[in-house]
């Protein structure tokens, strides 16, 4: 008869209790910090069967299988899955095993002791168990060994990743301090120690291919040494305790935080405060995986990698000086690439906007001069058409007035397609409000939005074509234009082509297409521009495109980035785009066009321009 308690379990039991309490209190705090409306929404989402089902599916996919990492980097995906799923299964199967073959079976044990033993028995089951030869017991042993092997294989990859990041497909990995190194070491050693502890006793407790045959026979040479075995059990328990105790203060806090984040996200919540509620769940969910470093255009400039999302999040979490966080916030180009790669879907841009909103500006804007503006001076070149077709409104936006090539081309396209159109802001426009929003001055932006809305509605059109993706984003998200269809000109031209309204001659010119952030990543408009270009010439492949397209460097998202820093980014993006020797670079954003044109060795054109060339050529 083996004992059912041993002091070596105590480090684990105490630390586990601590971690559970810590997480529960943290969770309750986050939920209480949510705005009232959000909290209600969240609690409701937990009960509804439909959202509960989605929660379950996402928890399994994201927390256990890590499907998102699989898609980007299969090896890293396996690493995460093997550790997370393996560990989870060891806990679950361990519980079933310890219930089925509990050493307490048939014993009279006080209730409290029984409860306590439920905490540690599944973890240290083999220490208290005696080998059973039934098929059922053998299957359990096999499963436990199988998952243990799975975890150890994952840890093996993690060690390789640490030593040689390139082997797993990463250029730069996040830098950590000593504390994080210690926690990681404790994590890496948990399962090898478990293997040794279980193996050392496998002649009594039994085991399967890993612990019994490989471990006990090979590593321990088939000898059982009680002292040595005890040492391993103690080490195993202490190691677990170190990990559990440090977990809340390390990046491994992402394990519990991620689960909460998924639930909050599925309830449809978003960050509204930079250091409260949803944002806290996001910040703690970041495991500092570093995937956002290589993709960030800021890391093109040497020291600026320190401003990438991972370090931004870490600084907020550490409660770093507000000024540091503010500087990082204002540097970011808001291109959204870091969010696109983030396996946890951490929307750090929302935190940044919330942070920018906190900046206090003593001087408020004064747009009273806009009240005098009754109407945009529109041009209506085709009055004879107005009788028989729906009017299409063209709003170039203030940026496009910097690049008259775009507005001229668009006017030509409207005419050649025989459209009944009205060029609303032919004489200059009010800014759409998005640049103002990006500075955090939301109310001021709203004034601009309100005025534009008023003037656009006045026109009575049902279709609105925009040339600037920056406008497109804010029009789609903030403008209430009830019933007016909003199109970017790439979409609109594509429609015209599909409806055979434009006769384009195809040439053998080679074009590289640059996906503007606010069109691509923000709205997934990738195929329309490519369709259009396919009708005009040959599309060449750049180094990265679509959702991994690099920012042009001109982004108005950054408040503080200097021209020199921007130029480095622009040069690099041009290099990526010209990888396969295109004749011209094609963009769909006036700001990108202007930015590239300054530094590009080959010609840069807007998609509307090459359409016009195709029509005339």
């Amino acid at each position: 008869m083996r004992p059912i308690f041993d002091p070596f379990v105590l480090p684990f039991v105490i630390s586990m209790t601590f971690v559970l309490l810590y997480c529960i209190i943290g969770m309750i705090r986050i939920i209480f910090q949510l705005p009232k409306e959000d909290r209600r929404k969240f609690l409701r989402s937990l009960i509804y069967p439909k959202s509960a089902l989605k929660n379950f599916r996402d928890l399994v996919n994201d927390c256990l299988f890590h499907t998102k990492i699989w898609k980007r980097k299969p090896l890293l995906g396996y690493m995460h899955m093997s550790i997370a799923l393996g560990w989870f299964m060891i806990i679950i199967v361990g519980h079933f095993e310890s219930i089925t073959f509990s050493p307490l079976r048939g014993l009279e044990v006080p209730f409290m002791q029984k409860m306590m033993s439920n905490l540690y028995l599944p973890i240290f089951f083999r220490y208290f168990a005696i080998e059973e030869l039934s098929l059922k017991a053998q299957i359990f042993s096999f499963l436990m060994d199988f998952f243990l092997l799975m975890i150890i294989s994952g840890i093996f990859i993690a060690v390789v990743k640490k030593k040689k990041p390139k082997k797993v497909g990463m250029k730069r990995v996040t830098k950590f301090g000593i504390k994080e190194d210690m926690v990681r070491l404790s994590l890496w050693t948990i399962f090898p120690l478990r293997f040794l502890a279980e193996s050392s006793i496998a002649n009594i407790a039994g085991g399967s291919f890993l612990t019994k045959y490989l471990g006990f026979e090979l590593v321990f040479g088939g000898n059982y040494n009680e002292t040595l075995s005890m040492v391993f059990w103690w080490l195993y328990s202490i190691d677990l305790a170190i990990f559990m105790t440090l977990l809340p203060f390390s990046r491994y806090m992402h394990i519990p935080a991620e689960a909460l984040l998924i639930l909050l996200r599925n309830a449809g919540l978003k960050t509204t405060e930079p250091r409260k509620g949803y944002a806290v769940a996001e910040i703690y969910s970041c495991p500092s995986c570093g995937l956002c470093i290589d993709v960030c255009p800021m890391s093109e400039v040497k020291d600026n990698y320190k401003n990438t999302a991972v370090y931004f999040i870490r600084n907020i979490r550490k409660g770093k000086r507000r000024r540091d966080v503010k500087n990082m916030t204002e540097k970011c180009l808001m291109c959204g690439k870091c969010i696109e790669v983030c396996p946890l879907g951490i929307e750090s841009l929302n935190i940044k906007i919330a942070q920018r909103k906190k900046t206090y500006y003593k001087i408020k804007s004064d747009f009273s001069y806009l009240e005098r503006l009754q109407d945009y001076k529109t041009t209506r070149p085709q009055d004879d058409l107005s009788a028989h077709s729906q009017k299409t409104l063209y709003f170039a936006g203030c940026m496009s007035h910097l690049t008259p090539k775009i507005t001229r081309s668009m006017t030509k396209i409207f005419k050649l397609a025989n459209e009944n159109f009205e060029f609303l802001d032919a004489d200059g426009s009010i800014c759409c409000g998005r640049p103002m929003m990006l500075t955090g001055k939301i109310n001021e932006a709203k004034a601009l939005i309100a005025k534009n809305t008023e003037l656009i509605k006045k026109s009575g059109a049902k279709k609105l074509v925009l040339s600037c993706p920056i406008c497109y984003k804010v029009f789609k998200e903030e403008y209430q234009l009830d019933g007016i269809e909003i199109l970017h000109h790439t979409q609109y031209i594509n429609e015209l082509i599909e409806n055979d309204k434009l006769n384009i001659d195809r040439s053998d010119k080679r074009y590289a297409y640059h996906d503007p952030c606010e069109l691509g990543r923000a709205f997934g408009i990738y195929d329309e521009p490519r369709n259009v270009i396919d009708n005009i010439g040959l599309l060449t492949q750049g180094k990265s495109d679509r959702d991994m397209s690099a920012c042009c460097g001109g982004s108005i998202g950054s408040l503080t980035m200097s021209m020199e820093e921007r130029d480095e980014i622009t040069k690099n993006t041009i290099k990526d785009l010209t990888l396969n020797q295109p004749d011209e670079i094609v963009t769909a954003c006036p700001l990108c066009l202007k930015t590239f044109a300054r530094l590009s060795p080959i010609e840069v054109k807007d998609i509307a321009e090459i359409v016009v060339e195709g029509l005339e050529g």
Partner: protein
């Protein structure tokens, strides 16, 4: 003339040293979105600040839409938009009356 108060200009200059590279070419004014409807001119703002005419400068700054076009076009690559933002952040009306 010696005692023009350049406190605001000096503060802005400390934050945005590039303000001194302005050569008053006026490109920013020509493209200004707000300038389309008002007398807004970034070039003028710089001149006013340099002469200590803070109040007049502020009246113009208030009209800015933050569109960033002046930054795109500036022949010296000055981060004009951030200068405008800094002004609205730093300027303290009471102090300057």
């Amino acid at each position: 003339m010696d005692n023009v108060d350049l406190k605001l200009f000096n503060k802005i200059e400390a934050l945005n040293p590039d303000i001194n590279t302005c050569m008053a070419c006026g490109l920013c004014t020509a493209t200004c979105t707000a300038g389309n409807f008002t007398d807004m001119s970034f070039r003028k703002i710089i001149l006013m600040l340099q002469r200590g005419k803070d109040k007049e400068a502020i009246e113009l700054v208030k009209k800015c839409m933050m569109c960033g076009k002046c930054m795109m076009i500036c022949s010296r690559g000055i981060n004009t938009r951030n200068i405008l933002l800094s002004i609205t952040r730093i300027y303290n009306e009471e102090q300057n009356i």
